[in-house]
Symmetry: D2
Subunit: 398 residues, 4 copies
């Protein structure tokens, strides 16, 4: 039995590295590097196969860059799914790192082949497709992990634990923002990611709201546990002219009646990767920012602010400790979050393969249903914007 769940250890050990294939991720891309970073640093995976580009030449070159065996370098993901499924040492999972419009077909092909899925966000162009993937996930029992790396930072887990144990009291309002500046000026034609992100056929009904908005939306739900039932969105182009929005101002209504605001932009000079979450309850507030991911600011009403850092003996919850990779003060950052993501997925996938039930609450991996909620968020925002900024239902139960 490859997976051993130990009471003593903070997480189960695998008896071998799992085998990972990639669709997308070849030369010129960025997202594939993150996935590969996570896989390597986790030490739970070896990358053995790939259809790394829709461009055959790039696919082959990139496969050689990655030192894949020649027979496992593919130019067609369907062939890859088929052949890998047929091997005794075929891939345990596929990482899908392609532009948005291709996710659905690729995911279907690998799920049909019985291969677990690790998929970038947004997982599809439409919520119908996304819900279909969720249905397929349930029916098949496969793992379908959506890659929201930010929730694999220890302090995000700590924030979630603190909200759940009531340190804030009932949540009464939320501010979330994700601000960047790389689309302020005219696009660099050499950066493919900038091109397809402005093409509605490839990116879907929203650009910035889909690209970084789904992260912000998932983060706030992950931490607060509160569904956003309605939203109101206005899309804008605040940077150089482009076909789709680079900025969105969104108002939120949570299930418990609390209001919130979300600001998404890629055209605010001086913001690099400014994902920031502020949650206010009756008893306390919490603040977390991606660029200083190791710090969680806890503000109990009328008491000194506490700077919570991973590794403290007091107050850091097991679900945060579980994500630690370094002693405190020795910095962790995005690579470490991706490594945690790939480690947790390895545990989940090994457990599925072994028919092993994991302890309740061991893992908190965003799945296809979470991915579908992200797509629904994009649709609701686009609907609201197109209707002139009216309140629009947003949530998917299930």
């Amino acid at each position: 039995m490859p997976l051993q769940v130990s009471d003593a250890a903070s997480y189960p050990r695998l008896d071998r590295r799992l085998r990972l294939g990639f669709v997308g991720g070849g030369r010129g891309g960025l997202v594939g590097d993150w996935h590969a970073t996570g896989a390597r640093l986790s030490d739970c995976w070896e990358i053995v196969a790939g259809a790394l580009s829709s461009n055959p030449e790039n696919a082959v070159q990139s496969g050689r860059d990655w030192r894949l065996a020649e027979e496992r370098i593919f130019t067609d993901y369907r062939e890859m799914a088929e052949k890998e499924a047929a091997r005794g040492d075929g891939i345990d999972a596929v990482a899908i790192c392609t532009p948005n419009h291709t996710h659905y077909d690729i995911a279907c092909a690998f799920m049909d082949a019985g291969i677990d899925i690790i998929c970038d966000k947004p997982i599809t162009l439409t919520s119908e497709e996304a819900l279909d993937l969720a249905t397929r996930q349930r029916a098949s029992g496969l793992v379908f992990g959506v890659t929201h790396p930010y929730v694999y930072h220890p302090m995000v887990r700590q924030a979630r634990a603190m909200v759940r144990r009531g340190d804030l009291g009932p949540v009464r309002q939320v501010q979330v923002e994700y601000a960047q500046d790389w689309r302020t000026g005219p696009p660099d034609p050499a950066f493919k990611g900038a091109v397809w992100r402005s093409d509605p056929k490839k990116v879907g009904r929203a650009s910035t709201a889909g690209d970084i908005g789904t992260h912000a939306y998932h983060l706030l739900h992950f931490v607060t546990g509160l569904p956003v039932t309605e939203l109101r969105a206005d899309f804008h182009v605040c940077g150089a002219p482009k076909d789709m929005e680079d900025t969105a101002f969104i108002n939120l209504k949570f299930e418990n009646g609390a209001p919130g605001a979300m600001w998404l932009t890629q055209a605010a000079p001086g913001n690099y990767c400014g994902l920031r979450l502020r949650i206010y309850g009756e008893k306390a507030g919490l603040e977390w920012e991606q660029e200083t991911a190791e710090i969680l600011r806890f503000n109990p009403l009328d008491q000194p602010q506490q700077i919570i850092v991973r590794g403290h003996g007091s107050g850091v919850e097991p679900e945060a400790e579980r994500m630690l990779r370094q002693p405190r003060g020795h910095g962790e950052a995005l690579s470490d979050a991706w490594a945690n993501l790939y480690r947790e997925l390895a545990i989940a996938i090994a457990a599925r393969r072994d028919g092993l039930a994991l302890p309740d609450d061991l893992l908190a991996i965003p799945d296809a249903m979470d991915g579908a909620r992200g797509v629904k968020f994009i649709e609701a925002a686009a609907d609201s914007h197109e209707a002139g900024g009216v309140w629009t239902k947003c949530w998917l139960d299930g």
Copy 2:
């Protein structure tokens, strides 16, 4: 001639301290202390008369606390206006520090007596009253200063200068927020300011949106120079139950088409006096926060952030230098801003008394028309909220 305008000096000198009277500001209040602080630290004023409370006993006690001459301690502001106007050494100006609903009558009484006005914000309960004060100001030629102290910080002046000289390029979006936490829990009945701020008869159609919202609104206009033409507001109670809002989420449309968001709350634990302005143009962004008022963050696109601090030789504009009270590194804070406010008003009032025209652009004192715009902002926000969050005209020309 009491006022001497020197080319060499950064500002004119007065040949005597001006005489200041107070309406409101007695024991138990907070706002009066700020006014008195500014007057004292500016060294341009002596406080000589007052109707310091509507409660006669408090008025007398407070007058003695302040060491006023007995005959200049009043229990009725109308009597004060009349008697002071009749004295040869009567007050040069009156500071109005009372609850909102009384401002209009008090201002009228002193303007009728030919006395210059220094009035807290919002200046009236309705925009009709406010516009009437603006009309009276113009007709009388009197000075009517509205006390927005934040724009007397050197780095706010620097921000304004940088926007005006085009360092940001055209402004494309704005985020402004003013977050506090003192109304999160149940109110302290001993704090009178909390009581009247929840009473629409005294505070007007908005509570938090009026109290701190007018500051945020004025600040963003002062710095950007851009009128807000429309807004959309939702009011909420996020703290302990109360009769009026303690939180508002507001969307803004600027005259040039740029969008903005404003967040106002007094129920977000861990925020003390969190007034924060972020402006983004085509070429750069600017950030300023009241709690670190000495720092202006300037983010030219794709270049290192600059931490602009008062007193640097390069890049700090004369209108910021003009507000300096200490060498750099020797901290300035709210008292210094109030001192600048009272110094600038002293110059304006002395100049008016002397019939002296000041150099163009020497002063940038919020006046009755600015005050009226603040009241219009409150009304637009209340109208929008009551209509369910619809876009509502906001701006007053003039």
Copy 3:
């Protein structure tokens, strides 16, 4: 009886403003402005007399700038001492804001006239003179306040209270530094303060170590309560060439055996007024910096850092609350510290005049003996440096 000590109030009230005279502080100076700022903002003083410069013309001009009555503008401080002592409404205290070498004679003249002293630091050129002033203070019963404004910040008081109540456990090591950069480049001949600070006849045996070193030294003693028994100093010129040191590296031994380091420089580009104190005990550490004076960082071992801010209900000690001038979040800075300094001195001086014993521990005003310790520190540092950096006794008991 002018002074009323109330149980209810946090500090006694004066029934009149005290009368203050200045020696030094005229045009071109900086230190006098701080004293005047503190006196004005405290609202406990009126400035009525002055020998504001050793240059007669400047003395007269400056006196008129300050709106002193002509007969109370002096060109000779001895005449001022004599005449003010003879008036019924003579000054209650004199503020001495002149270069160091003149302090002793001026202080003697006013003490001989029975006038309380408020003296800048270092109080004399030699410890013999300083101890003589301390002896005279004791013999006369006069108040002799030395102006170390930093210890009038609420968070410095809070730090002191926390050390005293044992929050840190025994202090085991200390780091203190005061770094500026204004002497990095060649001196501006127009800045008189730069000139006399490089002249050993006027500044004493150390320049930087005297000017800012005495502040750092006093601060660490004020907060820790620990005498420095020995020190080892090396003086350097790290900025433009000059006759005296602009930088000192000093090692410290405390009475309890704990080591410490002190770094003093006025030639470290990017440091404006970087006074920073870090104290480490067995149980916790504390950090305070002048440029962010409102924040005290408390680090209990293995627990989250606490950001202690004035005005919190929990944990802020009465001796810190006593220094508050603004609600929390409404910034306080150097002007406020000087105002606290002048208020505390007013209370002490009024009490002395009335023969009133103040409650134990009400005031913690640096006095002539503290001033003498500062001079001894300078001498020990200069002795150590001149001897090649040997351990040198430093402390003055008494």
Copy 4:
């Protein structure tokens, strides 16, 4: 030819992953995890062999944990050196992660077998041994990399480039500190690293000064390029009683006459991994801190502070760009620094194996001579302390 040096690419590509063996690094250790992290994340190495502990059982268990082939799990490093050297697919390099006293013998064994060395610091117990390793390195032509990971942060490279191109002018003074708190309380007997670090037979003549002091010492030399010619050290126990120092206060003299101070402690509560370097020149200052490794503060005299962040178009030098692993805003931290370290070593080792001369200045890898300087620093500090804190020669030419 395995290594291809491309003009276009920022660094050469390897045509295969190099093979890495470990001595030390087994269960219970910390340092081995960092080395393995760097090797994995760099994607330039595969870990194939190890003598992971001096305890045979731990060695075997750890080897299995790491999924080494059984025949490449060793309990004796000499056997490992011999057998790996004999294999066609033997290790390309060995990572030495054992306690200090074993480094010399292990390094000699692998150098004798013709295997390149990656060695933790301090590299030996004595400078004689260290110089012998440096001599052997030169004689053999082998690569001998010492693992100072901090200099692989992009902003440390940027700092070095800025000093070298004269942005600061001549360096006039330096402050460096490395402060931790994990030895404040009594040691945890389960933490082996705490035990041997207090045993002079294993750790050498200094504990804290060796453990973290060598990092601080190397960092300041790497960035400034200035040899420390003399130092003066005092060792202290500021935390719980222990046999060796947990704190050192050190004064420095640089070759150009500039003074500096170094503070090293593992007993200052609230400091986790507080390595901080401040360099001051005639024209500007620079500040870098390990816990916020992505930010470099540049303070040109009398101009605004610049926050330099990796990835900016302007001002970031190629030698910093070369270390980038993520787009700006997407955090990098210690794992990324270790990955850069292992990538640079892979390039150097592949080049040596291929007889390839790399472009001048391509690599800046701390080598055995740098390691020897670190040991000499330890000895000088210990000598100085034992002699009562006298100035002691420190530098090793060569």
